[in-house]
């Protein structure tokens, strides 16, 4: 691997990490989960939320289920 590739990989890994920590990958995780649970041919799959619906649903769930932040 040359330096450019290495730098590219480093940048990709950093972006992945930052997105993960900030919680940006939540929708991707939700979709992946949904797909793995309802593979084709295993009956009618429940509708998958769109990205906009998902994020609304997420903050609305936080409304009723608050997460503590430490001191």
């Amino acid at each position: 691997m040359n330096t450019v590739e290495l730098l590219k990989k480093g940048a990709r890994d950093l972006a992945w990490f930052v997105k993960g920590v900030m919680g940006e990958d939540a929708y991707d995780k939700y979709k992946a989960h949904h797909e793995s649970r309802h593979r084709s041919g295993e009956g009618e799959a429940p509708p998958v939320m769109t990205e906009r619906e998902f994020w609304r649903d997420q903050t609305d769930r936080q409304d009723t289920n608050p997460q503590g932040r430490c001191c």
Binding site: A15, F17, V18, K19, G20, V21, M22, G23, E24, A26, Y27, K29, Y30, K31, A32, H33, H34, R37, E51, R52, F54, W55, R56, D57, Q58, T59, D60, R61, Q62, D63, T64, N65, P66, Q67, G68, R69, C70, C71
Partner: protein
């Protein structure tokens, strides 16, 4: 939840159900493989750990034995990091191997309860960052600053040794036990393990402790912003910035969290720079100059509104911003300390170790251990470690890296805060942290007071105070107690040597103030929300209507009650003639440590129930220490006859003076102020009694539960039933060779499946 019987010393019940699925690759390495890898000491490995031990040992010698005229800050970093590495590699491994015995063949809640939302397997490195951002806040930044009064060594030893033997153990155990119980909360675990009495006491204690912690965090912000037009402007700008970010995420680009955080961060920098410009204009300085009391009332109103607004509008976006700032600033400070390596001239032990001083009243034991709570042992973490994190863990063995390792990181933050605090001039330190009651709030008063302390090597001049105030863009730095301003001066002092020079000091100072205020405000409104739900849940037992959390009136009512509770304590601290933070901070530390004692007591009962008496000491030792420290500190606060230490002694002194018809007493110059002291000390005294009584009830019920397990050999567990796992992931930050090998075959299989799917 019934208790299912099982035999002691067995790592998993119903091991048969966890037998390997023949159609699947191995989901876990055998214990023997782990043991073999550990026992395999290559020369390189021996050299590495030998080197770490030597460097750590040398650093401790430099800090504790050599103690020259000055000591370089780099030794703090080496002593801490080497001790953490050794503690992590050996002690947490010992706990894993003998006490917790994680079993990677078992699925974690993230796997067997997976819903793609609350329960979702998360990469261990990401989850580590996540967990760290949730546990680290203002606590580890403030406590060490105040404890710097006693010299650098007591705080350093307690932060580093305390975390390895107590704080990180607590976090690790609570995380593990909660994970085995589907992510149940500390309160629920207390009810399961300790019964109704212990469980109820734990719940009330948690609620009361949350109130006091929120109040004192808010007090830190008030003290940092009062009479600082620059700070008031830039911190209040965070509200419109957060609202803007919230709307951006809601209506414009949902889910673009990093993008909106970067936008928010740039606006934040603009707010800091703008604050400097505005505070230098005449109208700006007048308009944004707010006294402590109106500021406190403003924060109380803000707290109420923020807690009833929808999460997406204010809390969620500010939380993103605060996570972004937190990880960024802490990383930046770590690098700066290594680059600058400040020389520290504070003595190892100061003149105030025996009898306390102007910043912290009382002797080193027990008050050092309650002044520094977060960073060494923090009970509040038990609420986080039994909340979100256990629902996201991929594999059982990862709890060590995330629970134990995450707390080591927080401890390192505390060490950096200590370094920042001891790197500034001692005279300035005491001028900033002694209450206005002692300094009179004036430069001349502060100089006279600090020089009268008779500290070796301290010769404060009025010029030093005015110059520092000018450098950081404040009107004055005298009696800016609460820890945050001192830390910010220290951070500005270090950062300006890396970037910007003296001219940038004001920017860095206000950057640091902003960084602390941001996550304190997040903690205030998240804490209010959590407390409101706890209160609603408890009230629901008597008035079922309260259980319905979407009932508007009930929500507003319970939010109002919680805000009034912490607001009252905040107002008390702000108006206290004795100086506020000095009298209230011990209560914060005691409360936090009592919560730790409660969490450890629950863990002890669980360990006893698992029948693992041989290793009970791992929990019993930190529990005993926390119990001794907090109970003796509480007793001193309740029974001490020295007014500066005992709340009731102070109360008697002032009410005696009032009865004698005096119109001024000590630092209280009016009858009204004297009456305020009488009122405040009574409230503080009653709170101390309440905390210690509740904690003792919890500890006694835990000891009873432990004794029952021992006496009756009545073992069992409240764990969820074991479910076989169907996935594999390494356990530590870096995979071991055997884990790498197994991981590679999983990757290969995943690739095969993928290509088979696309060929179909």
């Amino acid at each position: 939840m019934g208790t299912r019987p099982r035999t002691p010393h067995e790592s998993t019940e119903g091991a048969g159900t966890l037998d390997r699925d023949p159609a699947l690759l191995a989901v876990a390495l055998d214990q023997s493989t782990h043991d073999a890898e550990e026992a395999h000491w290559t020369p390189a490995k021996i050299a590495l750990w030998g080197g770490i031990s030597l460097l750590g040992g040398l650093s401790w010698v430099m800090l504790a034995v050599v103690r020259g005229e000055t000591v370089n800050a780099i030794w703090f970093v080496f002593a801490a990091v080497c001790t953490y590495l050794i503690g992590y590699r050996f002690y947490s491994n010992y706990i894993q191997k003998h006490l917790l015995k994680p079993d990677d063949r078992r699925a974690t809640p993230a796997e067997y309860k997976a819903d793609g939302k609350d329960y979702a397997a998360t990469d261990r490195r990401v989850l580590f960052g996540h967990h760290f951002a949730a546990i680290a806040g203002a606590g580890p930044l403030v406590g060490p600053v105040l404890a710097a009064q006693m010299g650098y060594l007591p705080g350093t030893i307690w932060i580093i040794v305390g975390v390895v033997l107590a704080g990180a153990v607590q976090d690790y155990l609570v995380l593990f036990f909660s994970m085995r119980r589907g992510g149940r909360s500390l309160g629920q675990m207390a009810r399961d393990e300790l019964g109704k009495v212990g469980g109820t006491a734990a719940l009330i204690a948690t609620l009361a402790i949350m109130v006091i912690i929120v109040a004192i965090l808010a007090l830190v912000v008030v003290n940092a912003l009062a009479a600082s037009p620059w700070g008031v402007f830039s911190v209040s700008m965070t509200i419109p910035i957060a609202l803007l970010m919230g709307c951006y995420l809601r209506f414009f680009r949902p889910g673009k969290v990093t993008e909106v955080s970067i936008i928010g961060f740039i606006l934040l920098l603009a707010a800091i720079i703008g604050g400097g410009m505005i505070s230098s204009t005449e109208w700006g300085a007048a308009f944004f100059h707010v006294d402590p009391l109106p500021l406190a009332i403003g924060i109380i109103i803000y707290g109420f509104v923020a807690a009833i607004l929808p999460v997406w509008l204010l809390l969620a976006p500010r939380d993103y911003l605060s996570t972004f700032m937190k990880i960024g600033t802490i990383g930046m400070l770590a690098i700066a300390i290594v680059i600058v390596r400040p020389e520290i001239s504070v003595p190892a032990f100061s003149e105030f170790t025996a009898n306390g001083g102007p910043v912290v009243s009382g002797s080193l034991f027990p008050f050092l251990f309650v002044t520094i709570a977060c960073g060494a042992l923090s009970g509040f973490h038990a609420l986080i470690a039994s909340g979100t994190t256990p629902k996201l863990i991929e594999k059982e063995r990862q709890t060590r890296f995330i629970g134990y390792g995450g707390m080591l990181m927080e401890s390192f933050v505390a060490i950096m805060a200590l370094v920042a605090a001891v790197s500034i001039d001692r005279g300035i330190y005491f001028a900033m942290n002694s209450s206005a009651a002692l300094t009179g709030g004036t430069v001349q008063g502060a100089v006279t007071f600090v020089n009268s302390l008779g500290l070796t090597g301290v010769n404060l001049t009025p010029d030093m105070l005015t110059q520092t105030a000018k450098d950081v863009g404040e009107a004055t730095i005298v009696s800016r107690s609460g820890g945050a301003p001192t830390l910010s001066v220290g951070l500005a002092h270090i950062m300006q040597q890396v970037a910007g020079g003296k001219g940038m000091m004001a920017f860095w100072y206000h950057f640091a103030i902003m960084f602390e205020a941001l996550f304190i405000l997040t903690a205030v409104d998240a804490g209010t929300r959590v407390a409101r739900f706890m209160l609603q849940d408890s009230l629901g037992n008597f008035f079922p209507k309260f259980k319905n959390t979407s009932w508007r009136t009930g929500a507003w009512l319970t939010t109002g009650i919680m805000v009034l509770a912490w607001g009252a304590v905040l107002i008390m601290g702000v108006t206290d003639p004795l100086g506020g933070i000095n009298t209230l901070f011990p209560l914060f530390g005691i409360a936090n440590q009592l919560l730790a004692a409660i969490a450890l007591a629950v863990c002890m009962a669980i360990v006893a129930k698992r029948g693992m008496f041989k290793y009970l000491w791992i929990v019993a030792m930190p529990l005993a220490f926390a119990a001794v420290v907090t109970i003796s500190a509480s007793f001193l606060k309740i029974f001490s006859t020295i007014p500066a230490v005992g709340y009731f002694a102070q109360n008697r002194a002032f009410s005696g003076a009032l009865a004698a018809g005096e119109t001024s007493f000590g630092t209280a110059k009016t009858v009204a102020a004297m009456e305020a002291v009488v009122r405040n000390t009574m409230v503080q005294g009653i709170l101390s009694v309440l905390f210690v009584v509740l904690a003792i009830i919890v500890m006694v019920t835990a000891i009873q539960a432990t004794w029952r397990s021992w006496k009756g050999r009545d073992f069992g567990t409240n764990e969820d039933p074991a479910v076989p796992s169907q996935m594999f992931a390494p356990s530590g930050f870096l995979p071991t060779p055997a884990e790498k090998e197994l991981g590679a075959s999983w990757d290969a299989q995943a690739r095969l499946e993928k290509s088979a799917k696309s060929n179909r």
